[in-house]
Symmetry: C2
Subunit: 434 residues, 2 copies
Amino acid sequence: MERIYTSEVNAHVGQRVRLAGWLHALRRLGGINFLILRDVRGSVQVVIDTAGELACLDGLLPETVLAVTGDAVVEPQAPGGVEIRNPQFEVLSPVREALPFPLNKPQVKASLPVFLDHAVVGLRHGQKRALFRLSAGVMAGFRATLTGLGFTEIQTPKLVEAATEGGANVFGVKYFEGQAYLAQSPQFYKQIMVGVFERVFEVGPVFRAEPHDTIRHINEYVSLDVELGFIRDHRDVMAMLTQVIRGILAHLETHHAAELALLEARLPIAPPEFPAIYFPDAQELILEKWGEDCRGEPDLAPQHERWLGEWAQEEYGSDFLFVAGYPMGKRPFYTHPNPADPRYSNSFDLLFRGTELVTGGQRLHLYQDYLDSAAARGYTDLKPFETYFEAFKYGMPPHGGFAIGLERFIMQLLGLDNIRLATLFPRDLTRLAP
Amino acid sequence: MERIYTSEVNAHVGQRVRLAGWLHALRRLGGINFLILRDVRGSVQVVIDTAGELACLDGLLPETVLAVTGDAVVEPQAPGGVEIRNPQFEVLSPVREALPFPLNKPQVKASLPVFLDHAVVGLRHGQKRALFRLSAGVMAGFRATLTGLGFTEIQTPKLVEAATEGGANVFGVKYFEGQAYLAQSPQFYKQIMVGVFERVFEVGPVFRAEPHDTIRHINEYVSLDVELGFIRDHRDVMAMLTQVIRGILAHLETHHAAELALLEARLPIAPPEFPAIYFPDAQELILEKWGEDCRGEPDLAPQHERWLGEWAQEEYGSDFLFVAGYPMGKRPFYTHPNPADPRYSNSFDLLFRGTELVTGGQRLHLYQDYLDSAAARGYTDLKPFETYFEAFKYGMPPHGGFAIGLERFIMQLLGLDNIRLATLFPRDLTRLAP
């Protein structure tokens, strides 16, 4: 007999059916026993009222994998309105040790370290499954939106020859007789590929060797990268990012309503045009409202970002706020300056509910500008940049792009208090397993 | 004025339009000059018949990035039937050095090393763009097919604690004060995730530190990974793989006909059920037809795979052939044996035009079987396997899966003579850049 899913029993009332899944719970109520069988689509109640069938389950603990053949019968008191009677069990994979924490309670009751140590089973909990389905939905919505806008997907190498991008620290890799590094981002490659496809995106892992130990940093994460050519300036990039965010949210709303409801997630308010504030104006606002003078600082403090998030919600009813025009000093060497005031850059961050979700901007596109910028930063050895700069020597249009952190997106969407909860198997200073 | 693409000029005849792209070629024919402007969607001829406009282009070489404003005029002799007259040029990015090899010839005229050294510009050639669009199409077709079949996309870590998978060599990474490795595959993680989602897939980089120097190996490649639960045995996995391959090919046929035509690629013949041969039977066949006795060998030689590919084409009219039931000896420890003859495994390879494209099979799913298999292989320290084995301790259904090499797929599809031509920026023994 073909297996059906628990979600399909209602269509098979009056028939003998075959189901398969995990023993989610077994309640013994004297002569009658209720087994909850869970599969990927839901669960169903199985009634066991003969000693013989109950004996089949002797010594078996939750998470035992079973096939169950039985009659699908209407029972208004059963969850879902249909239950399975007269079952026959086949044990596909017995479990004889107690779980590190129960999976059949509404919430996972485990500290974060204990949960992460046992993520290989903990991820089976309904809330976790819903969360990582949303992650898959974010990726799908990202790709669908960009494909519809004429972007081409690329896959660029994660092993690179030189630690050229600056900023974050890199992991070293012994590469045969030589040395390689793990790419901190596909930045150089996605820019190069604008010369090929004009508009490109990539979904892939990035590696940051920063010895952070915070709730919002991990050392390997999934980056949703975009780069596009023939822009006016960074405002075209911001408009594209707005479309992408709205596309992702529309995808979640259409395809993941069940997961959003289960996780009690409120979809963010994302107006057709996200509000934007110029970086120096944001500093003025902070001075005015908080009395804190951060003018001259190259970045915003996390508490100021949080407050700006609230301000955008009150002022514009938006969960998103662009902060544009960061000072050139702290931005990478490929950043395009603001032509009207070269102290500031044509770059931006996007705050999502007061936390930085995206960094992006316009890049330099002229070969000579790259040479000048490298010289201004004191880069004396240009050999590591040679192949990158070659793309500009041979004609690159004005371009820009951005990178969305997948885990950061989920963290903010669901209001999680630690980014590790948005990562299947997080990597941090002390964790490399499971 | 909004930029339009070269593919849109026909819809703007009689209007003044703005185009942008690369100076693909400039032919000077005395008083009249023809410039071919290339963008991501095609190219258009621009007629220059005034000395003033020609002077704007003085000293500029191919690949200069231009915006062109001009009149779209019907001209039957022009490629595409419409040309641009009375142009005004704006130089967005000048090129003053000659390209390492021309991009405006039907074929790239460069040796493989020269091409790869200059891939950042070489990839702009029309044939290369078409090829990597097909790569994107293979990924899109893969995901669309699996999503339609109830699979969930996952992203698993590439930094792992132990080099546990066996077989291929691994790259070591200095991870803060400790040691990590680059994942050779998402094998363990995709199996674990069957316990969560029953059916999962992943598209991502894998890293192989094998010191190969062949036309069909690279050290970093893109793996299209699948794993599914509640199977009977490996035949269910083979049936799923067949659906996936056919789904990818249907996607290419629908969405990438232009690229296939440009590359003169013949879509493979992929019958609804791919022919399959049992490994020992394949060896008998080789003995019978070739007089070569390879019985007792754990694998097939490349020339035998090629011949089996031809045999499948002649015998079954199929470009694909399953070889199932490889001897247990050379397969990884998680491989499920054939219950009827435990010398052989429930694993398979899929040959595509006589080259191994996919490896897959049924895995062990019982905790005790993992302990026994590890013991039989002489693994004395099970600590590195602890979290992996925990998934089986807590109930895993019968399951299996496979991995398709993206670059290998493209190589066989297009009949390329080197896998490096199917990789944007290949990594091999001697190459880490660009």
